[in-house]
């Protein structure tokens, strides 16, 4: 055994006083919550369906007989404990199909520095360049070519285009970017993490959804007055409306109205759809 061990005080005793007095407001952590948190951290970001699976798993390991708490309450409980650590489990929705997901977000940093531990200086700069192109673009997508052309301007160690291509793939694997047909956009998780940073850094170029007033990267826009809406926001706003009109200028809304995301429909669709989905989520 090693010579010295600093083991923290067993958590059952000796809460610092602030924890005891605010115990009513702050949640209580049990091993169910701890295992959940540990495993969620291995993902960073996870679709709601898988989060529910994870929650169920943690109950099965530690507390078989307990009723599984409603996910929202379960997460709120954990968040109230995480608050003093400036971490939060945030819920977001994918911009393309309105799929809910959860991401562990560090509240104390508002820049891209969250990624700093996993990427080198020149890689981070590549991300920043891609981010700028994405925000400036009309579609929310930046082409691989345009990003790679900026390789010479990167800070840090010199990076070749071939290497930059691999770095972009690393971003996709780590769920900071999404790739579609050679073009890149932000993963929902990046939007959740960097929303504040993006607003502050690119106040003029940043687009906003007319419905939810959150940051918009991908969406539909009115061809007359230019307002924009997220696809899932469009879906909800125009749900079962046969003649959609722009909420701002009332002109006819010319785009195809997407379906509202329905988790039940997904489950019923069966194995073949699950396979298609897992392909899609790999792209995501």
């Amino acid at each position: 055994m090693p010579n010295s061990l600093i083991c923290c005080t067993p958590f059952l005793q000796k809460f610092p006083s602030y924890m005891q007095s605010s115990a009513r407001r702050m949640g209580i952590m049990t091993d169910v919550h701890r295992r959940f948190l540990q495993l969620l951290m291995t993902h960073g970001v996870l679709e709601e369906r898988d989060v529910k699976r994870l929650q169920k798993h943690c109950y099965e390991v530690h507390d078989r007989n307990a009723t599984v708490e409603k996910l929202e309450d379960f997460i709120n409980n954990i968040n109230s404990v995480l608050e003093s650590l400036y971490i939060e489990i945030k819920k977001g929705v994918t911009e393309d199909d309105g799929r809910p997901f959860y991401a562990l977000v560090n509240l104390a940093t508002t820049s891209v520095s969250k990624m700093a531990t996993d990427f080198a200086e020149n890689e981070l700069d590549l991300f920043r360049k891609a981010l700028e192109l994405i925000i400036d673009s009309e579609t929310g997508f930046a082409s691989s070519t345009n990003i790679l052309n900026l390789v010479d301007q990167l800070k840090g160690k010199k990076m070749r285009k071939k290497e930059a291509e691999q770095v972009l793939q690393k971003f996709v694997q780590n769920k900071w970017l999404i790739e579609k047909e050679g073009e890149f956009t932000l993963h929902g998780r990046a939007i959740l993490e960097m929303e504040q940073y993006i607003w502050e850094t690119y106040p003029d170029a940043t687009k906003m959804c007319n419905i939810c007033h959150r940051l918009l990267i991908q969406g539909q826009s009115c061809e007359t007055c230019g307002i924009r809406m997220h696809l899932p926001c469009v879906a909800k706003y125009f749900q079962s409306n046969p003649e959609p009109h722009c909420p701002h200028c009332n002109d006819y809304w010319p785009h195809e109205i997407p379906e509202v995301f329905d988790p039940e429909k997904e489950r019923e669709a069966g194995i073949s759809k699950l396979n298609k989905k897992s392909l899609r989520s790999r792209q995501h």
Binding site: L39, V81, G92
Partner: protein, 301 residues
């Protein structure tokens, strides 16, 4: 590393509070907190560290209670933020969590340099608080390894469960297999093994020190550098050898995190043997157990 240093150095301004409306649940909580806090907690602490305040519009919910104890722990000298001690402990927690992902022990000096800053004289308290939070919130124990260089590691206080593997996001580490084999090998050779013996064994499995491996990349680097740095293995240079030879033993992290039985179980699975039949383990156990048998049978070697 850099990112938390950036955070506490505070190059980011407090972002505008109005947008984006927080999606979902906590806005009600936010309003409640805001009612409670007026006038009590300086929302933007003086000392020019506005940047350290969390960007959430909620504000630290626990900070009022913390304020009471903070005034007792209030720093006496030097430029300090008015940030309560409990909140300051958030930084070492995040730092340690991030560092632990790579499984490399964190030096005390690193924690001091990057996180503690002006709070150096309260380092012990901060670390103690951080350790409490790590245990309470995440189920990780903060353990100090060798006393000389004081490296810290995070140990999982929760029992790892096989089914965890299905819901993990990172498949553990792909190098686990190689590590476990090395550990098993060391154990079966009597707790110490020469590096040459390691390669004699691994060669039979198609793993070479000089050849790139499909899964493990550079096995030599993994075994002689990475696993040693992560404290899973300990390596010692064998004196008076030419060419230089090394000996490997289980490292302090392995001794803490696992047991010989677990390692043997893994190795036996690989070789399809019943671990109970393995002599090495039963010998070890006999030696460890206080001898109850009056027959005075000496442990077999």
């Amino acid at each position: 590393m850099a990112h938390l240093g950036e955070c506490s150095a505070g190059s980011t301004a407090v972002p505008p509070q109005q947008k984006p409306r927080r999606r979902g649940r906590s806005s009600a909580q936010a309003e409640k907190d805001e009612e409670r806090s007026p006038g009590r907690v300086p929302r933007v602490p003086s000392g020019g560290v506005a940047e350290e305040a969390p960007s959430t519009s909620r504000g630290p919910g626990g900070s009022q209670e913390a304020l009471g104890s903070a005034s007792q722990a209030a720093p006496s000298a030097g430029p300090r933020t008015q940030k309560p001690l409990e909140l300051k402990a958030a930084e070492p927690v995040q730092f340690l969590l991030v560092k632990d992902r790579k499984k490399i022990p964190v030096r005390r000096t690193d924690v001091m340099k990057h996180v503690v800053g002006d709070y150096k004289d309260l380092f012990a308290d901060l670390l103690r608080l951080a350790a409490q939070r790590l245990q309470y919130v995440f189920g990780y124990q903060l353990v100090e390894l060798e006393p000389e260089s004081n490296p810290y590691i995070l140990m999982d206080a929760l029992e790892p469960v096989e089914e965890d593997a299905e819901v993990r996001g990172d498949q553990g580490t792909p190098t686990t297999g190689l590590l476990r084999m090395a550990l098993g090998l060391i154990f079966m050779k009597g707790n110490t093994i020469k590096e040459t013996e390691v390669w004699d064994f691994l060669r039979r499995l198609g793993v070479y020190p000089t050849k790139k491996h499909l899964i493990w990349g550079d096995p030599k680097k993994l075994i002689t550098e990475d696993f040693v740095r992560q404290r899973y293995l300990e390596s010692r240079r064998t004196p008076h050898t030419d060419p230089v030879d090394y000996e490997f033993q289980w490292g302090p992290r392995t001794n803490l995190e696992t047991s010989k039985r677990k390692v043997l179980k893994f190795v036996a699975k690989v070789h399809n043997q019943d671990p109970e039949a393995c002599e090495a383990l039963s010998d070890e156990e006999k030696r460890a157990r206080p001898a109850p048998e009056p027959s005075g049978r000496a442990p077999s070697s």
